[in-house]
Structure formats: C-alpha cells, structure tokens
Symmetry: C2
Subunit: 380 residues, 2 copies
C-alpha cells in the first residue's frame, strides 16, 4: 500500500506512521524547508524530536506546491497508477487542485482521507476539542479551581489511528468494489463520539447531578494513587471481585475490609460499594502503603495478582522499566543520523501471520525527493 | 463483516462499537447476567450508561461458557462459515478451548485479535499504563505535588481503535492471501509506542533536563486557558505564524506584542520564542480577556480566525454546543428502552462512498441469544 501524506502536527502524521510501521510505503510531502511542525518542541541539537517520532518509517519529499509545476508533481504522486496507490491522507486544507473532485479526475478510484478540526471547516485542535467536551473539568486535583488540560494529545492520537482505519477500510472497499472515495473525519467528532461511547453525554442528559472532579480516584470503582515509605507513588486498583480479594490478601487487610463492610452495611465485592465507601478504604490502604517501600510492595502485589503499577517519569520509564527497552520486541535501538542511536518504537500491533517490520527512523526532510520523483517519472 | 466479541470494559468493546458503527455485525457474548462491566458507573435507573455507550449497534448473546455445551456454542459462533465471519475480538484471557490454536482447528482462516494489559501477560489497565509512561507528572497545575491522572481513558480508547484497524487489516490480508492470523496488542505497548512517536522517549534519553509540568501551558508554543470577565474560561492558542498574527489583530495587541519583541529581542513568528517569552505574553492577553465577556470574545476571535474554544462542562456541551446536537449529522436521537430517547453518536468516520449507518442503541443483555443461536444452528 502506498500513501501520500500532506500533513503537519500529530493526527495525520501519526496515521501515516501507524501504517508505515505495518509496512506501507508512506510518502510525506512537505514544502521546501519543511511544514508547520518541522521545529516543534522538544528539540535536540536543533532538531525536532517530535517530528522525528511522528514520521518514522516514511519517505520525505520536498515540493513547492505553490507553483503549478509543484502541484502537478504532488498530484502525479497521489494519483500514480498501481493497485496499492492512489491514496492520500491529509490534515491540511484541501481545495482547488488538491480537492477530491480535481484529483479524482486523474485517478478515478482515488482514496482521500481528510482530517479537519470541526467538520464544518472551523479550525480546531486537540486542546480546543478537549476544552469543549468537558474532560478538563473532570481531571485534576479535587480542590483545584480551573480546568486541567491533558498533556497527552489524546484526541489527535485517536484521530490518527481512526484515519489509519479509514484508509485500510476504504482500500478494502476498493479491492471489492473497484471504487475509491473521500473519507472525512474531524477531531471534534472523534472527541464527541468517544464522549458519547463512554456514557458521558447520556449522563449529562439524564442524570440531574452528573459526576464532578474526583482527583485521581477512579470514578465508580476502587482506584487511586498511594504514597510509599520510600517516596514513590503507585496506582492501585480493584475493578473486579477477584482483584479486590487479591488486594486484601496481599496487604493482610481482608479482615479490616470485612469489619468496615459490616459496620457500614456494604458489600465490597460490588464496585459501587467500593466507590461509595472509598474514603475509609483509602485510609486503610494509605497507612499500609506508608509503612512499606516500593520493592516490598512490588513483590507482595505481584505475588497476589493485585492490579497496580508504579508512577514513573519518562526518565524513570526508560531507565527502570524493562517494557521500555529492547527486551520488548516492539523496540529496537535505531541510528538517527545527527541525533544518535536510541530506543525506537515499532508497531504495537503484532500480526502473527506477517513478519514484524523493524522500527525505522524518520527520514531527513527531503531525503527522498529525487528518488521518488524519478520513481514516478515526475522530474521536471 | 461479522465479529464475535468476548470483552469487558473499554478497549475491546470500543473496537467492536467502532466497527459496528461502520456496519459490521458485531455479536458480543457475555456470561449469563453480564460481564464484569455490566454495572459500571455512571448508572441511570439502575442501568450502566457506560455499557450502553460502549455496546451500541451490537447484538448481545448470553452463553455460559463454563459448561462444555456453552463453549461449543461460542466456538461455533466464532468459527461459523462465511466470507466475512471467523473473526473474534477479545480483551479477556484466552486459553484452552478459546485459544487461537484450538479455535483455528475449527476454522483454519480464523482471525483473532487479542488485547492484553502487558504483552508478557501481566494485567495492566489504562490507569497503570498511564502511571508507567510518565504523563501524570506532566499533567496538572504547575504547583501541584503528586501525579495527575487523566480521567479520559485515552490508552483504552487508542487500543480499541487500533484493534479495529487490526481486524480490518487482517481481514484484507485474508481476502488477498486466504489465511487468517492471531493479532496481539497490549495497552502497555500502545502507551509506549505513542510516547515514542510523540518524541518523549527520545527526549528522556537525549535531553539532560527534559520538560517538567507546565500546567495548561501548551509546551513549546503559545497556548493556555484564560478567564473572561463573565467568569468563563477559554483556551487560546497560536501554533502557526498566521494564528499568531490573527490573535494580535483580534485583540488589538499587535503593537504591544511588537514592543515586547524588540525589548526582549525575540521573533514571535517563531513558536519557540512565543514559548520562551510566554509569561509577559500571557499577561497581556490575561488583561485583555478579563475586560471582555465570552460573547464579545467569540465574535472577535471568530472574525479573525483565532484558534480558540470555550471550556465547557459536559452539561454545557450538550446544552450550548451545536456540535453536540442533531445538527451534527453524526448524532441522532435514539430510543434506548428503559432509559429514554437521547442524543446518540454514530461513527466519526464519514465515508463518501457508503451510506452512513444511523446511530443505534446498545442491545439489552442477551437480547439476541435465541435469534443468533438459531441463525447459526447452535441451539442445544
């Protein structure tokens, strides 16, 4: 499969990187000097680590699409013949020569996936969508006054993965029916759809007094962060009856839990009851945790199958956690010229029937311009 | 396409709901009385709005898979003949009769997508993955001490969308090559892969002093929440030079920005410079915003193409925002027996070449047991 990507920032580049990691030939086209995201922080040695991460495994072509000659080249690339070609992914404005109607004159079975902010054409980005759908009022410390943004660009990422799904679904449709199509999705609709799927829209419409902000307490069940004696923080949860009894067994608190159960008339096998009475439950576990170091807790919790995990900074993740190392088959150390050799991710999807594609670096900007134009006979 | 889903909570149910919204026949199989998530909060009239949202458009079958007869029925459903069948999606433990090796004896071209916590088999959930990959130390008010969890189950959602991608990709592969396969993905690997793609792993490895927590300031560029005179909060960003000049024009602050530029020797067309000098820039905008109401700001910002959006609670979203209403073609009011008629989402993907599937309610638990068992000749 060959995908031409006209993109910037997160959603479309991630969609392209997702398919590149599965073996697709993804050709990102940028204006000379790079797109809007070429200098996006974090930087290292003057290079964007963000760009490097979001463009792994692609080919990079620089074309000046302000000129007609450049437009012909980009259009030629997008609509070049071949079974797996004729696919374009973009989160930039498409109009005129780059519109679906114009490009599909050059290749009738064109597939174009267009990511927008709002579907009505207004600009929206992860942060404005997040502000709109309500999560910043539900996130953050209970006593905090204002909204709390996520730092993870979650809506961008979901939109990127859905765009990858759209491409594969449209290409499958083309294999069966012989026709291409325009697929549109917006960050805003992705945010709204997920807010709906999680029951929050129904809750806001039906429940007179919907949930408020609860800090790190996991709404409706048992879960929160706890401090250890040696100054670490761990997340502990019990979402199922089995996890609840594991937690009692691992901590020796089963008796104390039962006592509380009879005192308040609750059944802690039910997650609603664990939620309602979370404060005294948290206190019991707080005291237990505060008397123990992470190392001891780790052994006890793992032996009993408690659902838990330590909080880590990204530094701690890459230095302490074997999952973020080459013992995890998803990762390899890859040489990134100018940046060095470092841990680089492949696809989190492990297809049993297909050989795994090794993680790849991002291209240098324009690295494949000559090669690609020659390959498609598009030299000026 | 027909998908049998053995699932609970978010990731697998969302993967199934995503494909159901695109027209797949998704049959969720639960034990009698429902799975682990049947009573998940928020509740309304004793019913889980969460379950209702995550199972839209599916058929529901109750089978007791602890009995051999039940196992035969589930296996029969999964491996029933037909081009689009032979697909199972699960985030429950698979072993014995439900393993890929056993089920693929009944249908050789079986596709099975298995979502786990960690790929090494340890239980992990959205919250423990989030704790591991570092975002809780980057999220939340700058002066806050502990980790700040996201409330949005972002890793679950991404994993669900990637599982949907895996199914369509594996089915396409089967169409071409005639073979099925086992596809595995873990919440943990999804978290790690995205942390890599966003450049955070490279940053932690290469940059001596990686970013810290910056509250709602958008790292490396211009963006933050601002209060209005009438007590609302809005998100304002300028990610591009054009958005930066729009902001100056809309607020009349272009001159003040230029003055600051010369005083500190910066070029605010560069996002790095907007970031470095954000404090005095924020002050200028803070004062401007505090003197105006949301209504005035809305008009000014929209006229000038500023990148912005108001913060809304979910209640405000459903009562004030036309995007969360039936004027958005993604939504329809749907009758959910026992809950009422309310705004319900369809797919955020708009395929131009295929008729849009109308939003559908979730099934009642077991609503389709008899129908499905009859359809596949699996009555006892």
């Amino acid at each position: 499969m060959r995908i031409v990507e006209l993109s910037a920032f997160v959603a479309a580049p991630l969609g392209g990187a997702t398919l590149a990691a599965l073996g697709a030939d993804v050709i990102r086209v940028d204006p000379p000097g790079g797109g809007l995201d070429i200098d996006r922080w974090p930087l290292y040695e003057g290079r964007s680590l963000y760009w490097e991460g979001l463009n792994q495994g692609k080919r990079s072509v620089e074309i000046d699409a302000r000129s007609e000659a450049g437009q012909r080249q980009v259009a030629g690339l997008i609509t070049a013949p071949g079974d797996g070609g004729g696919i374009v992914l973009t989160n930039l404005p498409v109009k005129g020569w780059s519109s679906y109607s114009e490009l599909s004159k050059l290749r009738r079975d064109l597939i174009m996936v267009v990511i927008t902010g709002d579907l009505d054409g207004r600009t929206a980005v992860d942060y404005t969508v997040n502000a709109a759908v309500g999560f910043p009022w539900l996130t953050g410390p209970e006593d905090h006054d204002g909204p709390v943004n996520h730092v993870l660009p979650a809506w961008d990422a979901m939109t990127g993965f859905l765009a990858a799904l759209a491409i594969v679904a449209a290409e499958r449709h083309r294999m069966v029916h012989g026709v291409g199509q325009l697929v549109e999705l917006s960050l805003s609709d992705v945010g709204l759809a997920l807010t709906g799927h999680l029951g929050l829209i129904a809750e806001a419409l039906l429940v007179p007094d919907p949930r408020r902000r609860f800090g790190n307490d996991v709404y409706g069940t048992f879960g929160r962060d706890f401090g250890t004696r040696d100054g670490r923080t761990v997340m502990v949860l019990a979402l199922t009856p089995r996890q609840w009894s594991s937690l009692g067994a691992a901590t020796g608190l089963t008796g104390a839990f039962s006592e509380l159960e009879s005192r308040v008339g609750a059944d802690f096998r039910r997650e609603g009851d664990r939620w309602t009475h979370r404060m005294p439950l948290f206190e019991l576990l707080d005291s237990w945790m505060a008397e123990r170091d992470l190392a001891e807790i780790r052994v006890r919790f793992d032996n009993h199958g408690v659902l838990w995990g330590p909080y880590q900074t990204v530094k701690q993740l890459v230095s302490e956690d074997p999952r973020a190392s080459t013992t995890n088959p998803m990762f390899e150390k890859v040489d990134h010229p100018g940046l060095g050799r470092f841990l680089t991710t492949g696809s989190p999807l492990r297809f049993g029937g297909v050989e795994r594609i090794a993680p790849r670096r991002a291209p240098a900007l324009g690295e494949h311009t000559a090669e690609v134009l020659r390959e498609f006979g598009l030299e000026n």
